[in-house]
Amino acid sequence: MSNTLIFRALLATAIAVGLTACSSSAPSSKGSVENSPQLENASLKPVAIRRAAPSFELKDANGDTAQLADYKGKVVLLNFWATWCSPCKAEMPWFEEFDKKFKDRGFAVLGVSVDEEGWNAVKPYVKEKNFHYRMLLSTEAVSTLYGGVDSLPTTFIIDKDGKIAAVHTGLVAKAVYQKQIEDLLETKNGALPAGDGAAEQLAYFRSN
């Protein structure tokens, strides 16, 4: 490789990193997130490019071990959160609602706290808010497996085959989660049907 090519590659990397930094520092907008018009693209990753969600074993609030493999065949919303994270706490009532609404259709929510104080911080909060979906306590190893989880909330939507169908970092509109969960529950892992419905779904994705 010539010196010019190496220089260009490094410059491109530096610019890309800079652009990422700029895009992540957007100023805030106020208002209700549940009704936010800024709905992100609700499309799921194409089945062919989904990668397997890393397996883990974590303790729940009762001291029982939870493994991702226990949920094979179910759609799982895996949410990394902390008691000090206000955007996380905005989403959690929705997850409670989804857990109740879709539980009988093969859906589960797993809340994974990264609180350093552990259950001493998590249990009182969960009790105060009356959340019933399964809560786990993360470890550094599991957080690393899931990309480091540097910012919260970070949520993975996992399909029935245990593959990651969507990843959300930061607060996301409730409708986006609901759409993705329903797509994964209603179709073969959210894959676009080959028949007449495809055009409508594509139109939906493009308009959102």
């Binding site: 010196n3 490094l10 530096a14 957007a26 907008s29 208002g31 000090w84 206000s86 996380c88 706490k89």
Partner: protein, 153 residues
Amino acid sequence: MVRCLLAMGLLSSSLTFGQTNVLTLGKIPTVKAKLGSTVTVKVPLQVRLGYHVNSNTPSDKYLVPLKVTWEKGMLASTDVIFPKPSLETYKFQATPLSVFSGTFEITTKFKVAPTAPVGPMAMSGTVSYQACNDRECLQPAKLPVTLQVDIVR
């Protein structure tokens, strides 16, 4: 070519570092401290645009407060004074949060030990904070602070 690669590497790493460093420290002039006196030191801080840090008195018991701690030495911290926080409303929470954003200063008063050795010394401290923007929060973090102190009679 080696110099060029090094420069580009530094540029790239500084951009990456800047992305994770939400709270940055401004320049603190050398502190002139007379033996046995009380000195006031202002620590200037800047929060990255679009982000905020919880104030020293957060609105919610679960939030991580802004704190300043100083190591024990010839200067003993006697009081830490924070500016008045802003009450800001974000789309993720109906009630306002007590926060700092933009630039602000934390003031610390130190009592200088009468037996301190005259001459230059360094004083170390830590600003503990937790930052968020309107969509996401970052892990609690610590920012080291070093004061250059010149102890005089």
